[in-house]
Every structure is written in structure tokens, then in C-alpha cells.
Symmetry: C2
Subunit: 219 residues, 2 copies
Amino acid sequence: MSELTVYGNILSQPTRSVLTFCRLSGLEFNHQDVDFMKKEHLADEFTKINPFQAMPAIVHNSFNVWESVACVMYLADVYNVDNQWYPKDPKTRARINSYLLWHDEGVRSPLVNYLRAKYLVPRFGGPELTEETEAPYRAKLQEWCNTFKWQLAETHYAGRTSTPTIADIFAYNEVASAVALMNLDEQPEIKRWYDEIGAIPAVQEYTQQASEIRRKVFG
Amino acid sequence: MSELTVYGNILSQPTRSVLTFCRLSGLEFNHQDVDFMKKEHLADEFTKINPFQAMPAIVHNSFNVWESVACVMYLADVYNVDNQWYPKDPKTRARINSYLLWHDEGVRSPLVNYLRAKYLVPRFGGPELTEETEAPYRAKLQEWCNTFKWQLAETHYAGRTSTPTIADIFAYNEVASAVALMNLDEQPEIKRWYDEIGAIPAVQEYTQQASEIRRKVFG
């Protein structure tokens, strides 16, 4: 059995990002599914690994780490990772980290909050969005879109680096889950980036797995 | 002139955290004030350093980095920092990073949003909080308080480490700016931590500078 286990569900975007990082860096690992439909993320077993009860978390030789970006940083440290996805060069890493530290507030929150309000809340008996209640979500999406475009403008990648990196993987997984909210044909710069990152084999594979699960769970 | 300049205002909590990290790590640096009352953070000069127009940002040998935590990580890389505040030991660093990746959403946002609504908005002509409009802010504050208490419970420090680290510095600066919102005497575990971190000379000095500026600016 491998010394590294990644806990999380494929429908969780940050879980896919950590799994993809492991794959792209050639790490040996087990993936342990955490089925949120069965509330496994709230059960004692997972709460011991991450008391915040949020996915993903990792266990490496009995040492547990939570927060997806902190997981990547820890794995980079202990496996001495220095590849195109998270190079050791301090300037490149700084650009990637500046993106990763902004990612939750700047990318994940606007996309996930909109997704929840538009699809999940009505599905579980809450109110459907109206034109008026949807407007602030659309404004946040537009804000993300404008910011992301200038970030891509410099080098064509999210971390303003010369190749795709883990910054693009984190960004891609959020956009891929929220793509129904936007018309990417109207955003050619983002579309070109989206298609390029989505064609990376490990990314493609996890994205397809997520689509299949989503179809099964939500129809 | 030093090769490192930290840009930001002492009233900005993350600016104080980056400045304190530089002091505690013995780095030579210049501090360039960015006066937000004069809207210097929106001016071209600062926008070139951080297009997000947020403080702090650093320039190190013509290379600019934004996002306070990314600044600390970059400085740790280029100055080869391995001290109690940000040790290289991967497990200790992972615990610190897990905190730092949660800090913005878990600590800074609830405290800063409450501060703005209670003091800044009314000061600039907006509505005073009522019992009803204040309730959600108090609930978020309580949530922070409960989470922070279990984080401190393990080792008495925010990063669940055996000594104070940069995680405590980031946390302290947010709590110090928001201390008027809470009665720390009712939270003895937090109070004990707060007093200990606040007594670190560099922390104490920047906190006092901030109090003096706050008195001058806001009376």
C-alpha cells in the first residue's frame, strides 16, 4: 500500500486538483473516495483527518494535511517536486503562489456560490433564482471573467508563467464545473486556455469521471 | 538602498504581518508607505506593482510579488529562511500553511467585514447597524471564535506548532484591529494567546504605530 492517500470526492474541484497534481508529478498514491451524498465528510473517520470536514485532505505516513493548496505545497516539499507544474525557481513559484492565494476568493467563491444558488438550492427545495436575485451572482462572475482575462493576457497561463502549472489546474477544475454558467465562445482568450488545459490527459480523465458521476447523481 | 521594499500602510493588517516577518527574520528592507487616504493604492505607481491595488506588495530586485502570504513564501525562498517563524521542516510548514490558506476566509473576512459595517460604513454616511442587521456579523464572529479556540487547543498556537510562528502573526494582526468587536475577557484561551503574541517586540511596535495612526486619522 502506498504511503500517501488522497481523501475526497471526484465532484470536489480541489480534490481533482490535488489528484491531478499527484498524477502529473508521478507520485504513488491511493485515492480514497469520500461520498458526500452519504455524508461521509461529516463522519468521525474523515473528521479526524480534517476537522473542517472539507475535501480534500491527505494522509502521508500517518501525517494529515488539509486545505488543497497546503496539500500541494506539502507534497512538493516531501517529494522534492521541481517540475513544470510547480517549479522550485523562486520567481516562478511566487507567481504561482500569488495566483493560488487569490484562487479561493477570486475564482472558486464566485463560481461555486453561483452554482449553488442556481442549481443546488432549487434542487433541494429552495427558491429558484429570479432575474433580480441572479444579478449579483452574474456581476461576480463578470468580475472574475475580467480579472482572469488580464491574468491570462501576460503569458496565456493563470500564474503568468511560460508553461501551464498547478495554478492552471486549480483554475481549470473550477471553470469546468461551472461552465454551464457562461458562454465561453464569447470569451475567446479564456476558451483557448480552457481547451488547452482540458486536453492534458490527467485533467481530461478526472473531468470525464466527474461528468459521469454528475450525470448519475443529478441526472 | 536595500534590494527589498515592502509597500503598504501600517493600518493594513497583512502589511503589518509581512513587515513583522521581515523584522523577525532579520531581513534588510525598506518600508514604502502607501497612503490609502490619498488613494495612493489606486495610483499608477502602485498599480504597476500590484494590479489588484491591494496592500501589501513587495519589490525585490525589480521583481514584484503580491498577496501577503505569497510575499512571505517568496521571501522565505530567496532568503533561505528557516527560523521558528517559518521553519523548513515539512510537517511544521504544512501546519502553518494549512492555517495561512484558511486565514483569509476564516479569520480576516469575518473580522474585517464586521469592522467595515460597524465603523467605516456609518462614518462615510452609510447606515448604522441595527440589532437585526448586526446579527449575521456577530454569528460569523462567533464562528471564527469557536474555530480559533479548537485550533489553539492543540498546542496553544494558531498553526498547531510548538512555538509561535508567522501563522500567529497573521492571526494576531487581524484580531488586534478588531479587538473592539469582542470581549476577550470572556475568551481566556484566546486572551492568553493574544497577550503572548502581542508582547513580541516587533509585533508590539507595529501595533502601537497602527493605534497612533488610527487615532490621528479617525480621532
